[in-house]
């Protein structure tokens, strides 16, 4: 009977406070916004304040005094992180003003991207992706964030389909009546001609 009692006590699950939760993004910097938490606790004292994205992010290193040798690139898409803090020599991004080369020590820039080819140069190897617009942020500490909606390596593109799409959208533009249709057809033409030049050029 006493043995039963000890067995019962042993089996009872002890919910230990999880120090390290099983998760992929660990809260690195618990530098939550102090003003927010204070204001919250004043107005709603019974509830814990919600967390904010800052507490889930790794803090970025500050601007170094000398130009670093490598550029750290984060290339993210909605469904995957293509490159995460990868150190490269140079990237060439298709900004709306044309192809822009980014080297370590580039001035801080925010640029919008148009459909085109993104190439990542690391030593002697070069990887090319076709991206469908997005944004690139270049920070002063030689970090580059490229956010695109879609990106495919160039070998996955089919030339015939590109030609077909281009013809289709050109015909759509000529037969478009409203501004909206014209704009949509124009976007299709832009993307397909960029695809075309990516495959040929």
């Amino acid at each position: 009977m006493l043995r039963r009692a000890s067995m019962l006590l042993a089996c009872r699950p002890i919910l230990a406070a999880r120090a390290r939760p099983f998760s992929t993004d660990l809260p690195a910097a618990p530098s939550a916004d102090a003003t927010f938490t204070e204001a919250w606790t004043k107005v709603i004292p019974n509830m814990d304040p919600p967390k904010t994205p800052l507490s889930f992010m790794q803090p970025r290193p500050p601007t170094p005094s000398s130009i670093p040798s490598k550029l750290t690139v984060n290339f993210v898409l909605p469904y995957a992180s293509e490159l995460a803090t990868k150190e490269v020599d140079m990237v060439i991004v298709p900004a709306t003003t044309g192809q822009m080369g980014v080297l370590p020590g580039h001035v801080a820039t925010i640029a919008e991207l148009k459909p085109g080819v993104l190439s990542v140069h690391e030593g002697s190897e070069m990887t090319k992706y076709f991206i469908s617009s997005g944004f690139v942020f270049i920070h002063a500490n030689s970090f580059a964030d490229i956010i695109a909606v879609e990106a495919v390596p160039l070998d996955r593109l089919d030339v015939n389909l590109v030609q077909k799409g281009l013809a289709e959208f050109t015909s759509k533009l000529s037969s478009a009546t409203t501004d909206l249709e014209k704009a949509e057809a124009q976007i299709g033409i832009d993307v397909h001609s960029a695809l075309n030049s990516a495959l040929t050029g």
Partner: protein, 325 residues
């Protein structure tokens, strides 16, 4: 042995399915045994009631176990998507920082919740946080509006904040979540709602048992300009060259919209993960409770059955002995 049995009976868990009111008099803690008078004054103790109860509890246990498996498989599917999308909002926070305590006139709270129930307390937490933010940002000349995604938050918020709700969107998860769908949604919201700051409230998925309520703030381009000019956290924004477009304002506008759709995409995925995880743990605890109830009912059933056999035997024997002598 008797003490062990008594101790087992003494253990009280709060069952998920509320039993009939416990009648304190009888020996069985759950259900009163059904006694009624037979034709010649013979007493029958019916085990039918207990048996019915056992059948229904067993069915419920099967159902909740199945729901847990379904939630587990759905969780696996959404979890990979959510983890892959976690990199999406980080560049924006790195550039624009995070200012949840920004002071603006027009706040819009976007509450993300689930459509289906039985998922624990995550929807109530989201709604409580949204109401908290509303209260936090209330003041003279300030107004806060709600945009609701999901049936559960709609049911809770429509009760007392009906006039503050701008947009209600339901049936989000009918088709598998994709960025195109969320960007169309974001477009709708941005077109129809005037905002200075958008605060997205959702449950961030940490693990199968832990969901953290989170609020992400997206500022409109005018407020970004104002904050960067006044210095402080966004003061460095001015040092960034803006390439392309005719004016800086146009790029910032596109940036704000893109940021909103990216943050929404991540938020919706994380909330879906949290919903499945919460449903898993709710259904798991419910099946465990059902199992416990079933054990207790089985004991009651056996006791009742043995008692009725004993009663019959006693009556027969006493009847026989009365005839003899």
């Amino acid at each position: 042995m008797a003490m062990a049995a008594l101790r087992r009976e003494g253990r009280r868990f709060a069952p998920l399915i509320s039993p009939r009111p416990i009648s304190a008099v009888r020996s069985s803690p759950i259900v009163p045994t059904h006694e009624y008078e037979g034709p010649i004054g013979v007493r029958y103790i019916s085990t039918q009631v207990v048996r019915n109860r056992m059948k229904s509890v067993k069915n419920i246990q099967k159902i909740t176990k199945a729901m847990k498996m379904v939630a587990a498989s759905k969780l696996r599917a959404v979890q990979t998507k959510a983890e892959n999308s976690r990199g999406l909002w980080q560049p924006f926070t790195a550039l624009l920082g995070d200012l949840p305590s920004v002071d603006v006139k027009k706040n819009v709270v976007v509450t993300i919740s689930s459509d289906k129930g039985l998922c624990g307390g995550i929807n109530s937490t989201s709604v409580k946080i949204s109401k908290g933010i509303y209260k936090l940002n209330s003041g003279p000349e300030k107004e806060t509006k709600y945009v609701i995604l999901g049936e559960k938050a709609k049911a809770q918020l429509i009760r007392d904040s009906k006039k503050d709700i701008e947009l209600i969107i339901t049936e989000l998860q009918k088709n598998p979540l994709s960025y195109t769908q969320v960007s169309v949604l974001a477009d709708e919201i941005l077109k129809n709602v005037e905002y200075d700051a958008l605060r997205i409230v959702f449950n961030k998925f940490h693990s199968v048992v832990s969901f953290v309520p989170t609020v992400s703030t997206v500022l409109s381009p005018e407020i970004v300009e104002r904050e960067s000019e006044s210095g402080g956290k966004l003061g460095e924004l001015d040092s960034y060259e803006v390439e392309g477009g005719e004016t800086k304002g146009e790029i910032l506008q596109n940036l704000a919209e893109f940021q909103f759709s990216c943050v929404m995409f991540n938020a919706v995925l994380e909330n879906a993960c949290s919903e499945q995880g919460a449903r898993m743990s709710a259904m798991d605890s419910s099946s465990r409770n059902a199992g416990d109830m079933l054990d207790r009912l089985t004991l009651t059933y056996n006791r009742t059955r043995q008692a009725s056999i004993t009663t019959e035997l006693i009556e027969i024997i006493s009847g026989a002995s009365a005839l003899e002598g």
